[in-house]
């Protein structure tokens, strides 16, 4: 990952310039500037309330930046928000699936809303291992299964930028492999992935680069290979 803002504007997955977001009087994210090339996985680390979720939500266009700018594969976050939404998939900390619907119905809904009404829902259910419970109401599923459903929902849109917020929490072992599969699938197709997590050990296995945030500001930007475990532990606030 480079800090060279003039390189390959159109080919970069994400370019941010001084991206900032304030809530009332507090800055959640400040002066975030980086370039993420395609086919890479960025690990976003930091202690609680360091702005990881806010940064992801900004890139997902769920929030508008208070300052600065950013673009995803050349589309500006604010001006071309709709185009950006076509490219991204965001999986937040809550599964955001409908309890009273079945897994199959949830995916069908997501497919229709994402502009892919003919998506092969059954095969996606299979990929995340939910075929057996596909027609049971989601409220009867375990948390791990709900999280896998949320992943499937993001995956079936074939995003070019995958944004995962604490993807490892609440996942069973099947789910953990899924995250790795999704990440490599996305990069293979030319996209990039940003994983925000405090479980940096898991994330390190897939990461090409790391961005650490403290109180909303970037403190460490660099290729994963150069950072030591101690650096990361410190950056992640010492949480293991």
């Amino acid at each position: 990952m480079r800090n060279d803002l003039n390189a390959g504007v159109d080919t970069s997955a994400v370019i941010t310039r001084g991206l900032a977001r304030r809530f009332s009087i507090e800055w959640a994210v400040r002066e975030v500037t980086f370039v993420l090339p395609p086919r890479s996985v960025l690990l976003l680390v930091g202690p609680n309330a360091s702005g990881k979720t806010t940064l992801l939500r900004l890139l997902a266009t769920a929030l508008r930046p208070t300052d600065g700018s950013a673009s995803v594969f050349g589309r500006d976050l604010v001006r071309d928000a709709d185009a950006v939404r076509r490219l991204i998939a965001f999986v937040g900390t809550s599964a955001g699936v409908y309890d009273l619907l079945t897994a199959r119905e949830n995916l069908r809904f997501a497919a229709a809303m994402g502009g892919r009404p003919d998506a092969p829902v059954a095969s996606w259910l299979d990929r995340v291992g939910l075929t057996a419970v596909a027609d049971a109401p989601v409220r009867t599923l375990s948390n791990g299964m709900k999280r896998r459903l949320a992943l499937a929902r993001a995956w079936l849109t074939s995003p070019r930028l995958l944004l995962l917020d604490e993807p490892y929490s609440g996942l069973d072992s099947e789910g953990l492999t899924l995250v790795a599969e999704m990440a490599s699938d996305t990069t293979r197709r030319g996209g990039s992935v940003i994983i925000a997590t405090h479980e940096w050990e898991r994330g390190m296995k897939m990461a090409d680069a790391v961005l650490a945030l403290a109180a909303g500001r970037p403190v460490e930007i660099g290729p994963a290979a150069q950072l030591t475990a101690a650096d990361l532990a410190a950056a992640a606030g010492g949480t293991r």
Partner: protein
Amino acid sequence: MNGVLRAAAVARKDLLMEWRGRQTITATGMVALLMILLLGFVLGSEPGRAAAVLWVALGFAAVVGIPRITQSEVEQQALEALLLYPGSREHLYWGKGAALFIMLSALLVALLLLLGVLFSVDVWTHVGALLGVGMLGIVGLSAIGTLLAALVLHVRGRELLMPLLLLPLALPVVLGGVRLTETILAGTTSALWILVLVAFDLVYLLVCPILFEVVMDEA
């Protein structure tokens, strides 16, 4: 991006959830039923009062039911996901508005039957016209209601705000609904009031989707 498909998906999803959960229809049904019983008892159940009681009951049922159409998304924490799908937010308006319309219309049928019994009015002779007028009014309630449901999402005290905002704005619907229901029960009709309701519906169906996008925009 097929808007009709997205709107239909939202409507289907809302109705499916409602069918399985039955929370909104229960709440609105209870409120309407209690209003009718109370008003009927206190004011007397002469047939002449039926129209007014119907629309007051519908109005308050709407006040109770409308916040639920967006509240359910918040409860499922699905609102953000809904907003992050590509495509215009207007489609969400049309989908949710359609679902609300269908739910209130179902309530209307039940209320007409109830009124027929409790107020001794003949709802069968002109049942088509009664339903037509009812639905014309419900279109107006749904048009404004869907916008308001989104609007009060991020405001504290939303249960208190909904009646304060909806009832004054929807006053023409209630007034028109009452007059038209009265005239139909008396065997005639009123072109004037039909025009009023149609005008109201058209204006709000034009303006509200646009304002819905404004309301839903960003956090």
